[in-house]
């Protein structure tokens, strides 16, 4: 009610200057992925239990928790990566822009194009750096008339690796260091203009300097993209994320603003986990 009154006032004021006030998007419009009672089983193993999570646009959401708690399973369910596992059964919803990605009429290719994924171990294709980045666009029709040189350069710059590889784009991507390979993978994911980037422990196989570079890159990425990152490194989650969810035995124990989770967790289990008093 108050919002309406103030908007009306603002419109009245703005009309004097010949412009109309744009109403602020309601909170729900900022939610890009929203799961509802998401349950997932690997055969009899109930890996995700009633997960309700809201991922906000242009924010970094971190998922933390001990090994086997379901963190990776959760983010893999955000772009239907679990479909390829035969024994996997899913109930509930994952709504992406308000549409359930598990409904029958969904285009899985489109979903995976819009929701990119970066894995723990860098996995560049065994081909040149250039071809790695151009691979996705070459497969999609809408890039048919795009200048690939320009596209490759733009995305390598976005992934902050252009300066390091610009003179050797024809070299094999596999010849690069681990940190560079991971940034190539990020550039490759960015090349098809995703909306959301899922990252499954993207720095756990990297040295501290490469880790720092990837973290800085993730921080930059949130200006344009929405990032969901699974990490074992709590300091990393505390450093880079805006929201953090703590999972344990398939359940989302606590979800909130990162500062609150790490400074003043509400649940005792979260407190015990982040202070190392666990198990």
């Amino acid at each position: 009610m108050n919002v309406k009154v103030s908007l009306k006032k603002k419109n009245m004021m703005n009309e004097k200057f010949g412009q109309k006030f744009e109403p602020i998007a309601p909170y729900e419009n900022d939610i890009i992925i929203k799961s509802k009672k998401l349950n997932l089983w690997y055969d009899d193993n109930h890996a995700l239990i009633d997960i309700d999570i809201k991922v906000k646009r242009n924010k970094i959401t971190a998922i933390i928790g001990p090994s086997g708690c379901g963190k990776s399973t959760l983010i893999r369910s955000f772009n239907r990566m679990n479909d390829i596992i035969d024994c996997c059964k899913i109930e509930g919803e994952v709504n992406y822009h308000g549409k359930n990605i598990y409904s029958d009429d969904i285009n899985i290719i489109q979903i995976r194009k819009s929701i990119g994924m970066i894995f723990q171990k860098p996995n560049p294709f065994p081909m040149s750096i250039f071809d790695n980045i151009a691979y996705g666009p070459r497969l999609h029709k809408e890039y048919r008339n795009v200048d690939l040189d320009e596209l490759v350069e733009k995305n390598l710059k976005r992934a902050v690796i252009w300066e390091e590889v610009k003179d050797r784009l024809e070299d094999s991507a596999i010849s690069l260091s681990g940190g560079q390979q991971q940034r190539i993978c990020i550039a490759r994911a960015l090349a098809i203009e995703p909306d959301v980037i899922l990252m499954d422990e993207p720095t756990s196989s990297l040295d501290p300097i490469a880790t720092r570079k990837i973290e800085e890159l993730i921080f930059e990425l949130k200006k344009k993209y929405t990032v969901v990152i699974v990490t074992h490194n709590m300091q990393q989650a505390a450093r880079i994320s805006d929201y953090t969810g703590f999972m344990y035995l398939g359940e989302m124990i606590e979800f909130g603003e990162t500062e609150q989770i790490f400074e003043k967790p509400r649940k005792e289990l979260t407190e015990r986990y982040i202070t190392g008093r666990f198990g």
């Binding site: 790490f262 400074e263 003043k264 979260t270 407190e271 982040i274 202070t275 190392g276 008093r277």
Partner: protein, 216 residues
């Protein structure tokens, strides 16, 4: 490794209590030396200033090292942050004890001014505030901190009452002007000690609950 950090935090808490007791003893002995005109006791307070300084430097180093090595979170981080802030307040308390002890020699040949002007009474208000803050830190229970604001207001009122009495005393007995000026200074120190106890209480409240409060 978390276990090592938790043990270190327990040790640091013990060390903090030791430092707190040292600061309290410096103030307590300074006031007793003042009341009893006991120069020897006042001297022992002065000797303790080095120890309180050592605690301050040593504990600050230990806290920073723990933060750098273990990146503590939640209650562990709040405990360390509280120790880091409160050692400064404890150090100041100890220094006020030293400063009060340094004035004792000026009262030796005088009538019991401090007693008649209510310094003891003021200390009887401030001392339990410091003791309660130390206990709240030790047992991590904020129930004893609840009425700190009222207690601090009482201390402030006592300070102004000493101020008024001292001024009239100075007018009546000009030969005691210097001594009364010291009394005013001591009352001001004790009032600051009450403020430091409140600041410590704020940090301890944050340590226990995670919420910042202001005791003004």
């Amino acid at each position: 490794m978390a276990k090592v950090m938790h043990e270190e935090i327990i040790n640091l808490k013990k060390e903090f209590i030791e430092m707190a007791n040292l600061a309290l003893s410096m103030l307590d002995d300074a006031i007793n030396a003042l009341i009893n005109k006991d120069i020897e006791l006042a001297k022992t307070v002065d000797k303790r200033k080095r120890s309180i300084r050592d605690y301050d430097v040593d504990m600050e180093e230990k806290v920073l090292k723990l933060i750098a090595l273990y990146q503590p979170m939640a209650i562990d981080l709040r405990r360390l942050a509280t120790i880091l802030k409160n050692i400064t307040y404890l150090y100041r308390l100890g220094r006020y004890g030293k400063d009060i002890a340094a004035t004792v020699k000026n009262f030796v040949d005088l009538p019991p001014l401090s007693e008649s002007l209510g310094i003891i009474h003021m200390w009887e208000h401030v001392k339990p505030m410091i003791e309660d803050a130390i206990e709240a830190f030790d047992v991590e229970d904020i129930s004893k901190l609840k009425n700190f604001e009222e207690r601090d207001n009482e201390v402030d009122q006592l300070r102004w009452s000493i101020f008024r009495e001292s001024v009239s005393y100075m007018m009546e007995y000009p030969k005691y002007i210097t001594a009364c000026a010291y009394i005013l200074m001591i009352a001001r120190y004790l009032e600051r000690c009450g403020d430091h106890a409140c600041k410590m209480a704020e940090k301890i409240h944050y340590m226990v609950t995670g919420d910042h409060i202001e005791i003004s």
